[in-house]
Symmetry: C2
Subunit: 219 residues, 2 copies
DNA sequence: CTGATCAAATTTGTGCACATCTTGACCATT
DNA sequence: AATGGTCAAGATGTGCACAAATTTGATCAG
């Protein structure tokens, strides 16, 4: 009873895969995505694939140019900074608009994220760190029942996810991992106190700090 | 030098027209939009039109069902209430995140909106009121330079625009017009004082009051 | 009259052929 | 050698024919 039509399931799967590849920089900005090549890889024709690319274009991750190709968008630092400003505010709102009651199950999940983060401290890996950050972000948005807030937060997250991966190599990977682990630790503490607002504020504060670190790199 | 390709221009025009029809209830919730009929009306084939419908589906205004049709979505009151909660917060943020300096030109626009509102008081018209509200909303979002904030605000606006039109007939049209005019008047005063934050707070407050009025109807 | 069953009609999804546009290479001219 | 034009190659955009899915109505058995 997956209640999803086959076409929609495939659409969501392809969209997820391509978005992930873009956000993990498998397709760096400027990459030309050939519809024909992708259609061949996924075993479909161009038509369903164009539906996926259309959505990625609406999300601002690619731009389609007639006669040229589907080009992975570049990142304008100023716009990304403003997008981060909004993400920071939305992160705080998660604790105020329709917050979910904190259950033992939620705490267990947060604890699991901390374990994975600690494992990454032993064996740093920027790609694994980015992936864990993504999963943890979805966990964060799941703490509100406000569907629109979840959707907008995720939309903005995927638009800014690449900038962090671009900047991190210039920082110290071990340091960044440690900072992320401390966020996971603080977040777990707040949740254990059954204080969802505090947990949201912690995520908000870490976005602020992330903005500051990236500004320091730029300057 | 409109710098837009022909295909993109047509896409934007069709998207705007269909979105307007949905939000003004020309296509009430549950309406089945036939791709063939719309393609004939606009003088294209189904292919470009499906690109438009795909975006409307991503925006949550229609759902496409294989073998059935493209159906205008219904409105869940609870979700709409939560969406309004977020819209209220975003309206306040417009005054804090990258606000634009208030120029004479901006004040002139606000003054023009007030004139149009006053004209509507003389000759009430729910459709004209809804249209003026839409134009004024875009004016409001133009007061921030934060592109993401503008985009998310507009996305949420179009998702909730219909609920207001659905509820207003149960209220008094003249009263609603008068309330809107007072918002325009307050907004103009704040802008004349060169206080963009105050103008944003006024719009925020009016969203709060609108939520309260709609809750009163429901209860 | 009621219920089920099936076929026809209608609608969206897919694949393909072709139109349109961009780019770059090649070549003739100055 | 520099420059301008022309053309071919390759990419996305469009239109059409068909596949797949759903609904509807007719038809027939009970």
């Amino acid at each position: 009873m997956s209640e999803q039509s086959d076409a929609r399931t495939r659409f969501l799967r392809l969209h997820d895969m391509l978005r992930m590849r873009i956000c993990l920089l498998d397709y760096p900005p400027g990459t030309r995505l050939s519809e024909e090549a992708l259609a061949t890889e996924f075993g479909t024709s161009r038509t369903p694939l164009r539906r996926v690319l259309a959505r990625l274009e609406d999300e601002g991750l690619v731009v389609s140019q007639h006669g040229v190709g589907n080009i992975v968008t570049d990142i304008d630092p100023g716009e990304m900074a403003r997008t981060y400003d909004l993400r920071r505010e939305l992160a705080g709102l998660v604790g105020r608009l329709s917050p979910v009651p904190i259950t033992d199950e939620i705490i267990a999940k947060a604890s699991g994220f901390l374990d994975q983060g600690l494992a990454l401290l032993e064996q740093p890996d920027i790609r694994a760190l980015a992936h864990l950050n993504m999963v943890y972000f979805h966990f964060g948005t799941s703490l509100t029942l406000n569907e629109a807030l979840r959707e907008m937060s995720e939309r903005l997250y995927y638009r800014t996810a690449r900038i962090w991966l671009t900047v991190t190599p210039h920082l110290n990977l071990v340091d960044e991992t440690a900072i992320f682990v401390s966020e996971l630790r603080d977040s777990l503490s707040a949740l254990q106190a059954r204080d969802g607002q505090a947990a949201a504020d912690i995520r908000r504060a870490h976005i602020s700090l992330c903005i500051a670190r990236m500004n320091a790199v730029k300057g």
